[in-house]
Structures are given as structure tokens and as C-alpha cells.
């Protein structure tokens, strides 16, 4: 087997002099014991399992209903216990602050009065919902589920790249990747104390029920999906199945007497908690987009009355806006009186005049992003873009600068990835999933996404990314 260490950025597996890091040594020696034929055969089994089990996602912009396998690389990413502890503590701190921020801007707006963050920036965000000012969600929890994207710089330091507070996806692949790796390469597990993750669905259900309005009775929870054509439909269905709750679409629900009900074959039934995987804009045509066919007319009124829980709470998208992100370190200090445990990438705001000038003058060195998009859409990779493309992009930035931010290009860490009999470095990131119920819990591991194209920085599944199983080791290490 041929292993190639990364020439640029941080290599997750190989340290100085291309010696394997201690926590990878056992894995490498197991892999060395395989022949190329073994590996190829098992990879074929792995692809077949993904296809037969329908573990797929839908790609937008291609012909309708095109299902793709989310490519899976069998070389697991390993995170030692001590490293994970730092990440976990940082994430708990960050999610605590995010929720306090959301509560504040929809209530007293103290942080705006104290000028921790400019009020015009908050109010100009499309994701800030004025309609929800004064509405306090049950137990004051806005983000029941968050997926925070983490990257490592050239020195191996972890940084938060962005928070996904609206409808973060990917956790089904985390669970399926573990099952798949276990089935196809069981030998890997013998030498490592890998922390289990398969209790996620029950923790998610517990998290959702924690906020239920009718706690004394038996609350009814559902997963609300936009339907089969949504790119994450597999995940919606997977989570509903794993939690043992109904998967519903907007047309399955109706509002009567300020309560939400499911339409069933033999009458209706009240719903208490909706784990919604539908964006705010489409939730309720009477409050948000009138043309929405995915939502439930009157749903927001029921929510305001406290008769149903929406998880995550509508309006929480403002917290993961890419320009609000720039203020997170200040917000952590402001609400918790603590230094941020996790660092983040320096961010220039189109919203600020000086920053805008810097962005336009240094676009060829920056990654410029729209503030409200996700999935790698609406982004310019300055260092790799032709001049013409940069000019065209900057013209858009100048029209609506508040809608853009820029960050220096961080050379993401690399991880060996199997490519036709060789292990080549490919860039990766990490999306841990954080649940906020009776307390904040971080699923040990998360989704490691891989940029499968050589040299690429883009890890998004919609743009040629794949994934790996992510192992967090228990404190007892090999």
C-alpha cells in the first residue's frame, strides 16, 4: 500500500518526517495487512450496501429526482479523547451563548443597546423574524439541534467555520457510516476504544420531548419534511424511523382551534412537537412566504400560543448568519463572561466600510461568501478564480455589500483517502452535532466531510464531497 503525506496544510495522520501520529499507528498497520484485492473487494461491497439500502441524497439542478450515493471513504478519522474534550467544551460554551443571544434579540435586545453587535446588522438579516419578537420558546431553547462546522489550520488548531442553527443535516450519514465501516472493515475496531454514537436518535427524541408543552400527558412528536424531492429526504425519513415517530409533510398537518393536528385515515390527532426540516420561509404561508406549498397555514400562531414546539425555533437562523458569526467571540464574552474556548476564522464584513474596501482590494486572496447561503453555494474562492469571475462577483458585492463577508483562505487539514489502491491526502472538515435538551450534549464525532477532488477545498456533498467515519476515542487510548 502506498501512503502519500500532505505537502500543504496539516496532515491528520502523518506528523513531521512522515511518521504516523501515535493514535493512527495501529490503524495503519492493520491496513498494511490487506492486499489491494481485499480492499477493492470490500470497497465494492461498501458501494453496493449504500446503493441497496438507498443511502442517497438528491442533487439540485440536475434532472429531477437524481439520487446519488454520498461517497464514503473507509479510512476513519480518529480524534483522541483530550482533543475532543477541548472541542466539546468549546461547543457547549458556543451553543449556550448562541441561545442567550437569540433570547436577547427577540426579547430585551440588551446586546444591541450595549452595542456588542450593531442593531442595523441584526435587523437587516433576512433570518431575523420581526413577527417573532416577544415569543419565548419553551424552556428558552431556540436551537435544539446545531451542526457546527470545524476546520483545522496549518498548525492543527481547531477553528469554528460556521454554525448551522436552522436545519443542520448530515447526522444520518454519521450513523450509517459507522454501521457500514463496522460491516465492511470490522478489523479496524479491535484496537481502538471508539465511543459509540448509535444512541443519537433516542437522545434527539429526548431533547425534543424535553420542550414539549403537554409534558404531563404523552406528547406526540413528528418530523416535518419538505418531501421526497428534498436533498436531505433520506435523513428525514431515517430520523423518523430511528425515533419511531411519524414523518409528515405540510399537507399532512392542519391547524384547528389554535392547535396542530395530523390528518389520519381514521380522524385527526394533535401534535405537540415538530422537528421541522423545512426552512422558516416555507413554514407557514400565512406568516412567511405566501406561495409556500410545504408549510401549514396558521402554524406560527399555534407556536406563538405555546401549543406546539417547533425545533429549531423559527427565527434562529439569524444566529448562524455569516456576518453575525464575526461577533460570536464578543457575544460569548458578553453573555458568559468567559473567553471563547474555540477560535474562529477572521472575518471581514461587507457591512463595514473599511472591511468592504479591504475585500474589494484583496479579493484574489480571500474566500467571499453570501451571508445567508449554505452548501457551498454563492461562494467565490478568490485565490483560484479567474480575474473576470472575481470582477463579476465584486460587482454583485458592491450592489449589496451587507450581504457578503470575506475570510482568508484556511488551508484545511488533509487526511489519507483511498484512491485506486493508494492513500492520497484530501482536505476535510468536521461537523459535530450538538443537542440542547435538559443539558447540552455533543455527539462524540460528527460528520467528517472530504473534498474528493485532488487539491479541492470544497467538501459539500452537493459539490463532489464525500464523508468518513469519525472516531472519538474514549479516555483509555491504545
Amino acid at each position: 500500500m502506498q501512503w502519500i503525506a500532505s505537502k500543504a496544510g496539516f496532515d491528520e495522520v502523518f506528523g513531521r518526517g512522515s511518521a504516523p501520529r501515535p493514535h493512527y499507528a495501529a490503524l495503519l498497520s492493520i491496513l498494511e495487512s490487506f492486499t489491494l484485492e481485499d480492499v477493492t473487494r470490500r470497497e465494492r461491497l461498501q458501494r453496493l450496501a449504500l446503493m441497496n439500502q438507498g443511502i442517497t441524497f438528491t442533487v439540485y439542478g440536475e434532472k429531477e429526482g437524481l439520487e446519488r450515493i454520498f461517497p464514503f471513504d473507509f479510512v476513519p478519522r480518529i480524534i483522541p479523547a483530550a482533543e475532543w474534550k477541548q472541542l466539546q467544551d468549546g461547543l457547549v460554551q458556543r451553543i449556550t451563548a448562541l441561545n442567550l443571544f437569540l433570547l436577547d434579540i427577540y426579547q430585551d435586545q440588551k446586546c444591541l443597546r450595549d452595542r456588542v453587535i450593531p442593531s442595523e446588522l441584526v435587523f437587516s438579516r433576512r433570518e431575523y423574524k420581526r413577527e417573532l419578537r416577544g415569543v419565548v420558546p419553551p424552556r428558552k431553547i431556540f436551537t435544539h439541534v446545531v451542526g457546527t462546522d470545524i476546520i483545522r489550520d496549518g498548525e492543527g488548531r481547531y477553528h469554528v467555520l460556521e454554525d448551522n442553527c436552522r436545519v443542520p443535516s448530515g447526522v444520518s450519514y454519521v450513523l450509517e457510516n459507522r454501521t457500514l465501516l463496522n460491516r465492511v472493515f470490522p478489523e479496524f475496531f479491535a484496537s481502538y476504544p471508539v465511543r459509540p454514537i448509535n444512541d443519537y436518535p433516542s437522545l434527539l427524541l429526548e431533547t425534543l420531548l424535553h420542550a414539549a408543552p403537554r409534558a404531563s400527558q404523552s406528547p406526540v412528536t413528528v418530523v416535518l419534511s419538505p418531501g421526497i424531492h428534498n436533498s436531505a429526504y433520506f435523513e428525514h425519513s431515517f430520523l423518523a424511523r430511528e425515533m419511531g415517530v411519524p414523518l409528515v409533510e405540510g399537507r399532512d398537518l392542519l391547524v384547528e382551534g389554535n392547535r396542530v393536528f395530523m390528518r389520519r385515515t381514521h380522524g385527526k390527532r394533535q401534535v405537540d412537537v415538530i422537528y421541522r426540516r423545512v426552512d422558516d420561509e416555507f413554514l407557514d404561508p400565512l406568516t412567511f412566504r405566501r406561495d409556500s406549498m410545504l408549510g401549514v397555514p396558521g402554524l406560527l400562531n399555534v407556536y406563538r400560543e405555546g401549543n406546539v414546539v417547533l425545533a429549531n425555533a423559527p427565527g434562529c437562523g439569524v444566529a448562524d448568519d455569516k456576518s453575525v458569526y464575526a461577533f460570536m467571540p464578543d457575544l460569548i464574552k458578553y453573555y458568559l463572561d468567559e473567553e471563547p474556548l474555540l477560535s474562529q476564522v477572521p472575518t471581514y464584513l461587507g457591512f463595514r466600510k473599511d472591511d468592504l474596501r479591504y475585500i474589494t482590494e484583496h479579493a484574489d486572496r480571500l474566500v467571499i461568501k453570501t451571508t445567508g447561503d449554505a452548501g457551498g453555494y454563492g461562494m467565490l474562492m478568490g485565490p483560484f478564480a479567474p480575474k473576470k469571475e472575481i470582477e463579476a462577483y465584486l460587482a454583485q458585492v458592491r450592489k449589496n455589500p451587507g450581504n457578503y463577508i470575506a475570510q482568508p483562505l484556511v488551508d484545511l487539514s488533509s487526511h489519507p483517502t483511498h484512491v485506486e489502491g493508494r492513500f492520497e491526502p484530501r482536505r476535510i472538515d468536521l461537523r459535530p452535532f450538538i443537542l440542547y435538551g435538559d443539558r447540552i450534549r455533543v455527539l462524540p464525532g460528527g460528520l467528517t466531510r472530504v473534498a474528493l477532488r485532488p487539491g479541492s477545498y470544497v467538501v459539500n456533498s452537493s459539490q463532489g464531497g464525500g464523508s468518513k467515519d469519525t472516531w472519538v476515542l474514549a479516555a483509555r487510548e491504545p
Binding site: 441497496n52 439500502q53 438507498g54 425519513s237 414523518l247 409533510e249 389520519r264 385515515t265 381514521h266
Partner: protein, 319 residues
């Protein structure tokens, strides 16, 4: 009780799964029959393919291909096995069954979905290749047929006994009943004609093919022996209380599911419709056989099934 949308999805999954099985089975039987009789009676071979096109309507075979039986057979095999645009092809029905299964996956078990998905994926992979001879077609069809039956087995073995399973069974039974009645309605006029146009051995072969096409040859032999008396075959396929593809059994199966869905209260509108049909099939068998009124009777069955489908869609799916 379950969501109306989920009930709808399961009902159609059951219908399409059954339809795909029916198409695969009848294709295999027709192909074999046509190959066997081609040298003896080319018109009869052609008629078999035409009947099949009537049972599973879809785009017509182009004139130039339909001129020779070989061309007609090849074109029909291709269309009814792999065509994505023929609404009755095995591929189309399996795809629809799978699409419905995907929308209600949380109501299914992994075993059911994986069996169905694998069968679909295998057939899709075959569709991409050019199958250049009949044995290759037969192999692909037989594999799909086995996959479908294995999915049905997974349904029986792994799904919880709840209303979801009832709606799946309802779809399956409705489709089976409708398709069996359609097969009989298409085939009987030539078979019961006072002066059949073919020799007796060939006529025997056609009755045999009819029984095989409805998965009933072995069951018939258990009841009546190997001799194929047309009236006995007719009685068996229409009025036998135990044969799984007889109209009487099929109607009772649909009625039983509808009664269970109605619960202890008054029978629902579709249950009443099927109840009426079931009593006709139970008590009027001898009369229909004596008077030779098979075709009118079959029209009434097809009409009853269509009405019951409409009534249950309105009642349970709100469509």
C-alpha cells in the same frame, strides 16, 4: 391509525408491487407459449402477444416491428420489461413501488426496503445493457420476479400487524383482483367461442397457459387433476373459495381488509361495495356457468372493483 398520505403511499406501493409481479409472470408465460406454438400456428402466437398488450395497455408496437411475430415478441418483451414510459412495464411498476416506498420508508422495515430496492437496482442495471437474446431476457425477468416475491416475503415476515400493513395488503389484493379479472376478460372470448379456431391440443395449451398466467395451474391440479375441462377451469378461476387468484377469493380478501379497516362500526362504503360483489361470487357461480354469462359477469366485477377503488380513495386518502 396512520397518516392518510402514508396509507395512500402504502396502498400504491402494494398495487405497483403486485402489478410488477403480474407483468413479469405473464410475460414469462406468454413468451414461452408463443415460442412453443409459433411453428404450429403463427396467428395464435401473435394473438398471445396482442392479448398481453390488451391486459397491460401502453404505447403501440411500431408497425414495422409488429409485422412478424419475432419482432412483435421482441418489441413487447423489451417494452413491458424495461420501458420507463410504458405504464405497465415491470421496470415502471417497480420504480413506482420504490418511489412510494421511499415516501413511506418510516412505515416499512429495512428488510422490505432493501429487497425492493435491490430488485429495482438490478433491473435498472439490466435495462442499461442490450440483452441480445431471449434467454437473457428470461433470466432478467425471472430474477426480477424472484426479487419481487422476496419483497412480498419480507413484508409478511417483518412488518408489524398495524393499519399500515392493511393498506399495503389492500393495494396488493385490489391489483390482483383487477388484473385477474382483466386477464379473464381478455382471454375468455377466444377460449369459450362455440367453434374454436384452433385444434384441441392447442386449445388445451391455451387453457393451460391461462392457468399458468394466473399462477393457478398447480392449484387447479390439486383440486381437479391434470385434465383441463374448460368449465372446471372457469369455475376454478372465477368461483373457487381457496385459490389465491380466483375472483371469489380475491374479492373476499379485499372485503376482509376493508372490514378490518372499518372496525366494529358500520361497514364503510367500499366495504359494502366489495361485500355485494363477494356475495355474487359466492352464490351465483353455478348460475353464471350454466347460462354462459361469463363476460357480462366479468364486466360487472371490473366495474365493482373500480368503484371500490374510488370509494376507498375518497374515504381514506382524501383524494
Amino acid at each position: 391509525m396512520i397518516l392518510s398520505r402514508v396509507a395512500d403511499g402504502l396502498y400504491w406501493m402494494g398495487r405497483y408491487l403486485e402489478r410488477s409481479e403480474n407483468t413479469a409472470r405473464l410475460l414469462l408465460v406468454t413468451e414461452e407459449m408463443s415460442t412453443e406454438v409459433f411453428g404450429l400456428d403463427e396467428d395464435l402466437a401473435r394473438a398471445e402477444w396482442r392479448d398481453l398488450a390488451e391486459i397491460f395497455p401502453g404505447p403501440a408496437v411500431p408497425e414495422r416491428l409488429g409485422r412478424h411475430v419475432g419482432g412483435l415478441a421482441a418489441a413487447t418483451l423489451q417494452a413491458l420489461t424495461f420501458s420507463p414510459s410504458h405504464a405497465n412495464s415491470v421496470y415502471f411498476s417497480l420504480k413506482r413501488a420504490r418511489d412510494n416506498a421511499r415516501t413511506v420508508r418510516e412505515a416499512l422495515t429495512v428488510e422490505v426496503f432493501v429487497n425492493l430496492n435491490e430488485t429495482y437496482q438490478d433491473l435498472e442495471a439490466q435495462a442499461g445493457r442490450r440483452l441480445n437474446d431471449t434467454p437473457a431476457f428470461r433470466a432478467a425477468l425471472s430474477a426480477a420476479h424472484r426479487g419481487i416475491l422476496s419483497t412480498v416475503g419480507a413484508i409478511e415476515h417483518t412488518l408489524t400487524r398495524d393499519p399500515g400493513l392493511l393498506f399495503l395488503r389492500l393495494g396488493e389484493s385490489m391489483e390482483r383482483l383487477y388484473r385477474a379479472a382483466t386477464v379473464l376478460r381478455t382471454k375468455l372470448p377466444a377460449l369459450v367461442a362455440p367453434e374454436p379456431k384452433v385444434d384441441l391440443p392447442l386449445l388445451h395449451m391455451r387453457w393451460r397457459a391461462l392457468l399458468r398466467g394466473l399462477s393457478s395451474l398447480e392449484n387447479f391440479r390439486h383440486s381437479y387433476g391434470a385434465r383441463l375441462e374448460p368449465l372446471e377451469v372457469l369455475h376454478f378461476l372465477l368461483f373457487d373459495p381457496h385459490a389465491p387468484r380466483s375472483l371469489r377469493y380475491g374479492t373476499t380478501a379485499v372485503k376482509d381488509v376493508l372490514d378490518r379497516l372499518s372496525g366494529t362500526g358500520e361497514p364503510s362504503a367500499p366495504a359494502r361495495l366489495m361485500g355485494r360483489l363477494a356475495s355474487e361470487l359466492t352464490y351465483r357461480g353455478d348460475e353464471v356457468i350454466q347460462r354462459g354469462e361469463y363476460l357480462t359477469f366479468l364486466d360487472a366485477v371490473l366495474d365493482g372493483v373500480t368503484k371500490a377503488h374510488e370509494a376507498l380513495s375518497t374515504l381514506y386518502f382524501g383524494t
